[in-house]
């Protein structure tokens, strides 16, 4: 044992070799097991006297990592720990605006983009609105989610009006509330809302808003194509057999594909064009009847 440093090198090589064997046994991209030892926010709060803010940051980091890794790797996409993690985060720091706003999107978005629990998302934002009484953005998001996820137009408009009365509120909130009351659940209002979320956010929530904007655009495109089919039917006295026929007629100049590159589906029986079920933008629950 005169030169322990020299001996350390082959041992280090052995460590590398053993790690490779372990990865081969268990899989290199092992995700952390979903475990939450403490489920109650108040109990966790009791564990960190004087360090609640720091603990809230750590729980928020864990929430973001959990959401990201669940979306990317997990088999079970219902994200069972998301609700408790957010509850603990906002119990530890009831003023953490980002946890209410982003957490609600994580919770509310349909599977596989989110946890698919819109009522929990709304409850989280309601809790945020109670904790941050002067915050207009949380009320704005609450209005958006009531409109986008629960189709509760009347309440959405009420909440947006409430948001417009908070200090520093955006000027367009009142107009949006009026639009919702006047036109109900139209796509233009939904697009306006997703555009606002897109402009006000970053990271995964911004990417999510972009997907939703693309979904709405795909529905618009499908409706436009249906109108072209109707036009051609009027001209020829019969429905076209395919969308290629519409294109050949000169009414359609670009390929009939959505922004993900998936061709639209045409039903020659009804003359209706729809977003393909194979497309990542397909949302059967949001299609117009």
């Amino acid at each position: 044992m005169k030169r322990p440093a020299i001996l350390a090198l082959p041992v280090l090589a052995l460590v590398f070799w053993v790690q490779v064997r372990i990865d081969r046994q268990l899989g290199a991209a092992r995700t952390q097991q979903d475990v939450l030892y403490l489920w109650s926010g108040p109990h966790v709060r009791r564990l960190f006297p004087g360090f609640e803010g720091l603990a809230a940051d750590l729980y928020w980091l864990r929430t973001v990592q959990y959401f990201g890794s669940s979306r990317a790797f997990a088999q079970d996409t219902r994200m069972p720990l998301l609700g408790p993690l957010l509850d603990i985060t906002v119990t530890l720091d009831p003023r953490m605006e980002v946890a209410y706003r982003y957490g609600a999107i994580f919770l509310g978005e349909p599977v596989p983009l989110g946890a698919g629990r819109p009522r929990e998302a709304v409850a989280l934002l309601e809790r945020g609105a109670q904790a941050l009484t002067d915050n207009w953005r949380i009320r704005q998001d609450l209005g958006f989610l009531l409109f986008l996820y629960l189709d509760d137009y009347r309440r959405a408009a009420e909440v947006l009006l409430e948001a417009s009365r908070r200090p520093g509120a955006a000027f367009w909130l009142k107009n949006m509330a009026a639009d919702i009351l006047a036109r109900g659940g139209d796509r233009a209002t939904a697009r306006q809302m997703w555009r606002q979320i897109y402009e006000q956010s970053e990271g995964v929530v911004r990417a999510n808003a972009l997907i939703n904007l693309q979904v709405l655009e795909a529905f618009e495109q499908a409706d436009r194509l249906t109108r072209l089919v109707e036009e051609l039917t009027r001209r020829h006295g019969r429905r076209p057999r395919s969308l290629d026929e519409v294109r050949a007629s000169g009414l359609l100049r670009s390929p009939a594909v959505d922004s993900s590159g998936t061709p639209f589906v045409y039903d020659a029986e009804t003359g209706r064009v729809r977003v393909s079920p194979q497309s990542i933008l397909h949302r059967p629950d949001r299609e117009s009847p």
Binding site: P49, G53, L54, D93, R95, Y102, V204
Partner: protein, 254 residues
């Protein structure tokens, strides 16, 4: 007063040579810097995370330094027998005791100042303004650390360093749960009313020194509040030092 100053200065020189101090300061700085990395992993919380971690490091590691150095201050001098020649000089036990307290408080002041500069530099390095408002949280943290030093010093006159450390940690923890003590009757209605109230006022209330969340969110902390908190810290420190002195004066050092 000059003699107290001399003991304090020597205590400062002695404590800055302690390896444990450097270890703890190193971890505190490492933790503050980790805020930069953790902030990038979060969404829109980077500045808050850097401030939270920086302030928590000051509080946590400052408390550890105060406890682990504080409990050895008097005992070490007795064990090494370096106290006897000191007391043979024209130096009263009171002066020695108060000097030891002030010396460690000065070490902690330097420590907190270094960490504050570190936190400001971390903020500046990430493109944020070195927020002077943070001092409204840092000053009470320092007051709390003074109280921990006084506690550690008192316990170190009563018992061995290990037991003194356990006792100090215990009292500091209980002091951080002061709100739980006050609402004890809600979970245990059979407890007589005087008990939670008595414990609440008797034990040091470390919640008084916690302004971290308020400052991080930019809430104002009034000068009047800081004044009351300072008065509380100074009065409690005075009580502990006087109590410790009473024990130290009567302690048989043979």
């Amino acid at each position: 007063m000059r003699r107290v100053g001399a003991v304090a200065f020597n205590t400062y020189r002695e404590t800055v040579r302690e390896r444990v101090l450097y270890n703890l300061v190193f971890f505190a700085i490492l933790m503050t810097l980790s805020g930069v990395l953790l902030g990038q992993l979060s969404i829109r919380q980077d500045e808050k995370i850097i401030k939270d971690i920086g302030l928590a490091s000051m509080d946590l590691f400052g408390t550890l330094i105060a406890i682990f150095i504080g409990v050895g201050l008097v005992n070490k001098e007795i064990e090494r027998r370096s106290l006897y020649p000191l007391l043979a000089k024209p130096l009263a036990r009171e002066e020695f005791f108060v000097g030891k307290f002030l010396g460690l408080c000065f070490t902690l002041l330097v420590n907190v100042a270094v960490m504050t500069v570190g936190l400001w530099l971390t903020l500046a390095a990430t493109g944020r303004r070195p927020d002077p408002h943070l001092l409204a949280a840092i000053f009470p943290i320092y007051l709390g650390l003074m109280l921990v030093v006084a506690l550690a010093l008192v316990f170190s006159t009563l018992t061995s360093p290990a037991l003194a450390a356990v006792c100090t940690v215990g009292v500091v923890l209980v002091g951080r749960f002061s709100d739980v003590i006050r609402s004890m009757r809600e979970v245990a209605p059979g407890v007589p009313r005087w008990m939670p109230n008595g414990l609440y006022y008797l034990l040091p209330n470390f919640r008084n020194f916690d302004f971290k969340d308020r400052v991080v969110y930019g809430d104002p902390v009034s000068a009047q509040t800081l004044l009351w908190v300072t008065a509380y810290a100074l009065l409690y420190v005075a009580v502990l030092i006087l109590g410790g002195l009473a024990v130290f004066r009567t302690r048989d050092l043979q």
